[in-house]
């Protein structure tokens, strides 16, 4: 007999060992997320994918699917919690969408739209973060980093370089570069590394590409982030 769970009352099959997120994605059910990426081992840090499993809140990206689970996903209560998480991400960083080249292609922005974010709710931190533009082809703008660790995992698990890591705690948490200077230029990172193209926001970018894709042709110009699970 096929193993299955239910998500918002819909029967969703899963294979042994899959997480709730994997089962949901296979069934084309959107669970909001930012640190999850199907290519990489789950990290479970952003907490956007929090779902209610048999009455208890869990991270869908790390929680194993088990037969008979009743999962609640699209509820007002959960989406309100997710909205607050997104708002906290916005106020902790300096996400200036109007002037950001990632606008329209940014998963943080798209998720905020998806959750109906209309304001920041919390006071902005306005903490200054270092911009590292030392690399000839890549730029690291820590103002836009949300600590999803996708670059950390991509560099370590795919590129085999271990260029990135998260350091510090609380307000002092920041992305560090594993190089003699602490900057990208002598890190060994290259444009075609997987890590160079994994950032869900505009924190890690290939230089001199900004705004080359016109409005109307950007990833999220014509559909919501929930409508295209192929790249998530």
């Amino acid at each position: 007999m096929e193993q299955h769970i239910t998500i918002d009352g819909v029967i969703v099959p899963f294979k042994p060992g899959e997480t709730i997120m994997q089962a949901a994605s296979a069934a084309n059910i959107y669970i909001p997320h930012l640190c999850h990426h199907p290519e990489f081992k789950p990290h479970g840090s952003c907490k956007l994918c929090t779902v209610n499993v048999n009455g208890r809140n869990c991270s869908a990206c790390t929680f194993p699917a088990e037969f008979g689970q009743q999962v609640l996903n699209q509820t007002d209560e959960l989406n309100k919690l997710r909205l607050r998480i997104i708002q906290m991400l916005f106020v902790e960083g300096n996400h200036l969408c109007p002037a950001c080249e990632k606008s329209g292609n940014c998963k943080l922005q798209a998720t905020a739209y998806q959750l109906g974010m209309l304001d920041s709710h919390f006071p902005h931190f306005y903490k200054a973060h270092e911009v590292d533009s030392s690399h000839p082809d890549l730029m690291l703008d820590r103002n836009r980093c949300i600590f999803c660790t996708l670059c950390v995992r991509a560099s370590r698990d795919v590129d085999g370089k271990e260029i990135f890591e998260i350091s510090g705690r609380g307000i002092n948490k920041h992305l560090v570069v594993n190089s003699p200077s602490g900057k990208l230029h002598d890190s060994g990172m290259e444009m075609d590394d997987r890590a160079a193209d994994i950032c869900p926001t505009g924190a890690l970018l290939v230089k001199r590409q900004g705004f080359s894709v016109p409005i109307g042709k950007r990833t999220f110009d014509n559909h919501e982030i929930s409508e295209d699970l192929d790249e998530q």
Binding site: F211, I215, K217
Partner: protein
């Protein structure tokens, strides 16, 4: 001239309470004889931009700096674009023909919509209902009631300009089009055909608006020719043959008698031509022609400067209008401040004609959009924004990061001229110890003729809250007059 000493002067402060794009405050300093000796028009705007774009990568600039303004963002987008072209080794003449024509079309759409907004929404209520008319009448809503056809033309002309902008940048306000060395998308034939549908109507409406401006000007000639009128120098871009130019050309600087001091001046050397004076009481600098000095080297920019300075206009209807305009003054230059409106509508007609020409140009639909050359570290872009010559100057380091930015916006260039016009008006209307509403209105009208950013900020829908204080030599309050946003005056 404005006196520089403030000893023994009284002070009148006119303080608009609200702000959107800019915040204006007028201080009138009087002497013992209650004559205005000095005017200080304070404007708080733009100061942050030059600093906070430092540290950002240069390709962000056109999108970042266009947030300076919601009325003419395209001008900032294009001026920054012209500057960052140079970082990838591209000068204006190196751009592909299609990229150049798309940018020109975009700019004509911008100037058309901005001029239409200013004339129909902001200036025409004053001109049609009278400068001293009831505050409830001096707005576009009253215009819709009394002159519905004219008001609708204004709304639709602005919309047309915005449609041009949206077609090229993806949005009516704050889109993206310029990338280093070119443009980010071609124009489709269907889009071109869509814009062609209404362009003939726009030309007719622009002609109608121009006729209206001329008739209003001629209906009260002494007033229009004398009100806030000052003799000044003028600066603008022109084409190599001296024709009117809005997108790219050399700088021409003419004195008040029409003599030419500089012509076809390469704007990349602007800092050898223009200096900026900083005054302790203003957030806005005072540019002046270096060789003339700050006392006599100040100048006006914008429609009046451009139409005064050029030898011709490339489109036939606008050129005929220019000839009539120049004939009106009987001398080389037209100095009437209210003639800004006249010149503005000549340009509006020129924009509509030029848009039609470009839409019929097959190169507009080309797909060769971007070019590149040798890398450089300094870029200077200059354009004729709706309100006048706009300078964007940037330097970057070897890591593509902006290290220095200097912007001279149009309103800044008109700074001293606005002070002079307000002083002229204030001396006519304020001659005593009592402040009156007509005086406030006339000062507003003088400032608004220049179409500075603060005019749209503080006069949208005819609401310009003001606080006026009259202080004597010892700083004691002699009189106070307040105006609420609903037009109610109270002491």
């Amino acid at each position: 001239m404005n006196d520089t000493s403030t000893n023994g002067l009284k002070r009148v402060v006119i303080d608009p309470v609200t702000r959107v794009e800019g915040h204006g405050k007028v201080t009138l300093l009087m002497d013992e004889a209650n004559q205005i000796k000095q005017v200080r028009l304070h404007i708080v705007e733009f100061r942050g931009f030059e600093k906070f774009i430092e540290g950002r990568p240069y390709w962000e600039l056109p999108v970042l700096v266009q947030r300076l303004c919601g009325i003419c963002p395209v001008s900032h987008h294009l001026a920054a674009g012209k500057a960052i072209d140079q970082f990838v080794g591209v000068d204006p003449e190196d751009l592909t023909p299609t990229a150049t024509k798309l940018r020109r079309l975009l700019h004509f759409g911008q100037v058309l919509q901005s001029h239409a907004l200013h004339f129909f929404h902001l200036a025409s209520p004053d001109l049609l209902f009278g400068f001293d008319s009831d505050i409830s009448m001096r707005n576009v809503v009253a215009l819709l009631d009394t002159y519905p056809e004219l008001a609708l033309h204004g709304v639709k002309m602005r919309k047309y300009g915005q449609e041009v902008i949206k077609t090229i940048t993806g949005k009516r306000v704050h889109g993206s089009a310029v990338v280093p060395g070119g443009m980010n998308r071609p124009m489709l034939k269907a889009e071109r055909d869509y814009l062609l549908e209404d362009i003939d109507t726009m030309i007719v409406w622009a002609e109608d608006a121009l006729k209206l401006v001329i008739s209003l000007h001629n209906a009260n000639l002494p007033y229009h020719d004398q009100f806030a009128t000052i003799r000044s120098n003028y600066m603008s871009l022109t084409q190599p043959d001296g024709a009117l130019e809005l997108y790219h050309g050399g700088l021409r600087f003419r004195r008040d008698d029409g003599s030419t001091l500089h012509d076809h001046f390469d704007y990349r050397n602007y800092d050898k031509l223009i200096h900026e004076e900083v005054k302790s009481w203003s957030y806005m600098k005072f540019p002046y022609l270096q060789e003339l000095g700050p006392e006599t080297g100040w100048y006006r920019v914008g429609p009046l400067a451009r139409v005064n300075n050029c030898d011709s206009i490339s489109t036939p209807k606008a050129e005929a209008a220019r000839v009539l305009f120049k004939a009106h003054s009987g001398e080389a230059m037209v100095h009437s401040t209210l003639a800004f409106h006249w010149a503005r509508m000549i340009e509006t007609l020129h924009c509509a004609e030029s848009i039609k020409e470009l839409l019929h140009d097959p190169e507009l639909l080309g797909e060769d959009l971007v070019t590149q050359g040798e890398r450089r570290f300094e870029g200077i872009g200059v354009i004729e924004a709706p309100r006048g010559t706009l300078f964007h100057h940037y330097q970057i380091d070897e890591n593509d990061i902006v290290t220095k930015a200097n912007l001279i916006v149009s309103t800044t260039s008109n700074n001293q001229a606005m002070n002079e016009s307000v002083r002229q008006v204030a001396n006519s209307y304020l001659n005593g110890r009592e402040l009156t509403e007509p005086m406030l209105n006339q000062i507003e009208v003088a400032i608004r003729a220049y179409d500075p950013c603060l005019s749209c900020a503080t006069h949208a829908l005819g609401k310009m809250p003001m606080q006026v204080e009259l202080l004597d030599v010892d700083g004691q309050l002699v009189d106070q007059l307040n105006k609420r946003s609903d037009g109610v005056i109270y002491r």
